[in-house]
Symmetry: C2
Amino acid sequence: MDKIIYRPIGVIHSEHKDTAKTPIQPRYAGGARGVVEVFPEFAEGLCDIEGFSHIYLLYHFHLSQGFKLISKPFLQDMEHGVFAIRSPHRPNGLGLSVVELLSRRENLLDIAGVDVIDGTPLLDIKPYTTKFDGWIKSASNGWQDDVSEEEAEVLGSRGNG
Amino acid sequence: MDKIIYRPIGVIHSEHKDTAKTPIQPRYAGGARGVVEVFPEFAEGLCDIEGFSHIYLLYHFHLSQGFKLISKPFLQDMEHGVFAIRSPHRPNGLGLSVVELLSRRENLLDIAGVDVIDGTPLLDIKPYTTKFDGWIKSASNGWQDDVSEEEAEVLGSRGNG
């Protein structure tokens, strides 16, 4: 299998219009609101999603050109491998965010905690669940353990918090 | 943007050879071991990943044919929208697992908690971090709140636990 072809199932709308000011993660997005628009032909797939308080968005970093195997993360002035950071400049430009689901209006989902730039093509939505996703009680975090919560908050919100 | 083309960056090797017996999530995989092989041209991107105890694998459900907008999850005999369940039969066949990273041997990662079938094409690896991913302290889980932990454990391990 050398090529995998996906098609957007929708678009993520957000208040973030400038990559340099977009928060780097939902946690640092200061509750920023957005709307996930699922194209009408896929809207039936949203049935019962409104019972979940959080959802994964999988999307394509459409503004990212090319990739770097080694680069600096937003939170630290040291180089690491691309698979050890969350940079958008990845071999496959896949983005992943867990956002809060506020409400559903037919094919539109109102969300909070958006760290995604306006107009981002959406590839998939999965429910975040306590059973499947909330079971990791402690983790070692490599280079991130050297970044304080305060530093992360300031750098991660990028002035948009 | 109507087509997004990705190329595998590696392959996931596991003890699971039969989709019907593959655990449905890492949590129910009973520590099953596996090896992530990253193709040599991308191996530099693994630099410093060994500091993380958990990683996200993003992969392609290569054995899944087509999709169903409404279907039954493994854990419940009731239909829900595909975006409210974790079925592999999705409009874009994207899979997501958080696995434990045991060790790195150059371009090979030894992992535990594998819920992925042997030979699955790998699209991306991201570090799982307490700061970015461990901050959701409580969640509402829609239909999953009606499934007991015991039931989930039995159904989710699919005899492979």
